[in-house]
C-alpha cells in the first residue's frame, strides 16, 4: 500500500498507519486515533522518559514510545495483555511508593495517575504499601507542594519557568529520597497565572493552587465517566 506523501508507514498492533516523518510513536498513534498511555510526557515539551508507562515493544525490545521516533516499516506492539500489565504494575508501584489518599485529594477525579489506575482496573496494588514520611510545603503564598503525591515526572520542572527561563521547581536529593521542590525565592513571588498553570500541568495532586478546594461535584470531573485516553480513541 502506497501512503500519503511525506508520511511514514508503520504497523501498530498489526494495523498499518501513516504519520509524518519525525513523529514519535506516541504522536503517530495519537494522530491515528490510537491511545498509548503516557504520564510523565507533557505535550509540546521534550520527552524525558521518566515513567515508562508508554513502553511498547519494537522488534521484541521494550522502548519508550514518547521518545522513540517512527521509522519506515517499524512493527510496534502496544495494546497487548503483557504490556498493559507492565503498565499497570508501574501505576501500582507509584501508588505504593507515595501516599495516595484519593478520598482526601483535591485532584481526585482529574488526576492522571488515578485515571490510569481506573483504565487498567487496578483494585489493589500487588506490592506492599511503603507509607513513606513526606512533608507538605505550604510556605509559598500561591501554592502548596504536597510531597506525598509527587511522582517525580518533571513536568513542573520543564514547563514552569519565569521570563528569564529560570525554573520554579527542581530536583532535591537522590534515589528514594528524591523530591521535586519549589524554589523558595521564586516561589515567594510566584505570579497567579503561573501558579494555576503549575497545578494544571502536574498530573497528580502534588501542586495545589492555594484557596482552591474541591469545586467540581463528583460525577462531573474529567475522568468520572470516561477513561483517560478515550478523547483520543473517540476523535474520529
Amino acid at each position: 500500500m502506497e501512503g500519503p506523501i511525506n508520511k511514514i508507514k508503520i504497523s501498530l498492533d498489526g494495523k498499518t498507519i501513516f504519520a509524518p516523518k519525525g513523529s514519535t510513536i506516541v504522536e503517530a498513534a495519537r494522530e491515528n486515533g490510537i491511545y498509548i498511555p503516557t504520564l510523565c510526557h507533557f505535550e509540546g515539551t521534550d520527552p524525558k522518559a521518566c515513567c515508562r508507562i508508554c513502553t511498547v515493544k519494537i522488534n521484541n525490545r521494550l522502548m519508550t514510545s514518547c521518545t522513540t521516533p517512527i521509522a519506515e516499516g517499524m512493527e510496534i506492539e502496544s495494546n497487548s495483555a503483557e504490556l498493559n500489565d507492565l503498565r499497570k504494575s508501574i501505576v501500582e508501584l507509584l501508588f505504593v511508593s507515595g501516599n495516595h489518599f484519593c478520598p482526601t485529594c483535591e485532584k481526585s477525579g482529574n488526576c492522571e495517575l488515578q485515571a490510569l489506575a481506573y483504565r487498567f482496573k487496578m483494585l489493589v496494588p500487588r506490592f506492599p504499601y511503603s507509607f513513606p514520611r513526606k512533608e507538605v510545603d505550604a510556605s509559598s503564598p500561591k501554592i502548596i507542594k504536597e510531597q506525598n503525591r509527587c511522582i517525580a515526572c518533571k513536568r513542573c520542572i520543564k514547563t514552569i519557568r519565569d521570563e528569564k527561563g529560570r525554573h520554579y521547581f527542581a530536583y532535591k536529593n537522590r534515589g528514594q529520597h528524591l523530591e521535586v521542590v519549589l524554589d523558595p525565592v521564586l516561589g515567594a513571588a510566584m505570579p497567579d497565572d503561573l501558579a494555576r498553570k503549575a497545578m494544571e500541568n502536574c498530573p497528580v495532586g502534588s501542586i495545589l493552587y492555594k484557596e482552591k478546594g474541591f469545586d467540581e461535584p463528583i460525577g462531573t470531573r474529567k475522568y468520572d465517566k470516561q477513561p483517560i485516553g478515550s478523547e483520543i480513541e473517540n476523535q474520529s
Partner: protein, 182 residues
C-alpha cells in the same frame, strides 16, 4: 437455592461502607431473599453462629482488636472481601503511618491544639484498651483477602454487582463509572 450466609464488620472504618451497603435501596429486598446475615453490626450478632460464605470487611487494622476480629473472620468465612479504601489501603486512619506512634499520641493527648484539661499528661494505656499498632495495616497485609471493592465509600452499584455475582456464582459486571477510589 440455599441462602448464602453473609457476615460484615467495621474495623478501623467510619461505617460509611456499611451505609453504602444500605444504599442499594430497594434491592435490599432482593438481597434478603438471597442471603442470611450472621455476625454483623446490622443485626448485632456478636459471634459467628455457623460457617459463613461471604465476609465483608470495612476498615483496616489500627489496633490489636482489629487484627483479632479480622483473623476471626478469616477462620470462619469462605470468601473475604475488603470493602472500601480503609480496608484496602488503610484509608484516612493510615495518614498516621510514617509518623512514629509516640508522636501521634503526644499530638492527640498532650500537645495538640484541641487538648484541654489533661493536667496530669495522661496518655490512655489501660489494659482494657486495644493496643495501638505501629501503623494502620491494609487487611490483605494481615490475612488473605479474596476480593477488593474500592471506593470511599464504594458505590452501592459496585457492592450490589459484587454481592450478586458472588451469591449467584456468576462473573461480575464492573462498569467504568462504579469503580472509583473516592
Amino acid at each position: 437455592m440455599n441462602k448464602k450466609i453473609i457476615a460484615t464488620t467495621s474495623l478501623a472504618g467510619c461505617f460509611g461502607c456499611h451505609m453504602s451497603i444500605l444504599d442499594i435501596d430497594e434491592r435490599i429486598l432482593d438481597l434478603i431473599e438471597l442471603v442470611e446475615f450472621d455476625k454483623s453490626p446490622i443485626d448485632d450478632i456478636k459471634k459467628f453462629t455457623q460457617p459463613v460464605d461471604i465476609g465483608i470487611i470495612e476498615g483496616g487494622c489500627c489496633n490489636s482488636e482489629n487484627t483479632q476480629i479480622l483473623k476471626y473472620f478469616r477462620e470462619n468465612c469462605k470468601i473475604l472481601v475488603s470493602l472500601g479504601e480503609c480496608a484496602i489501603m488503610g484509608g484516612l486512619p493510615a495518614m498516621r503511618n510514617g509518623i512514629p506512634i509516640q508522636e501521634c499520641l503526644n499530638e492527640a493527648y498532650l500537645d495538640g491544639p484541641t487538648v484541654q484539661e489533661n493536667h496530669e499528661h495522661i496518655i490512655p494505656n489501660d489494659e482494657e484498651l486495644p493496643l495501638l499498632l505501629d501503623k494502620v495495616y491494609p487487611c490483605h497485609e494481615v490475612v488473605k483477602i479474596d476480593y477488593f471493592l474500592p471506593g470511599c465509600p464504594p458505590r452501592a452499584d459496585l457492592i450490589w454487582n459484587a454481592l450478586y455475582a458472588l451469591i449467584t456464582e456468576n462473573p461480575m459486571e464492573m462498569p467504568y463509572e462504579v469503580v472509583k477510589f473516592d
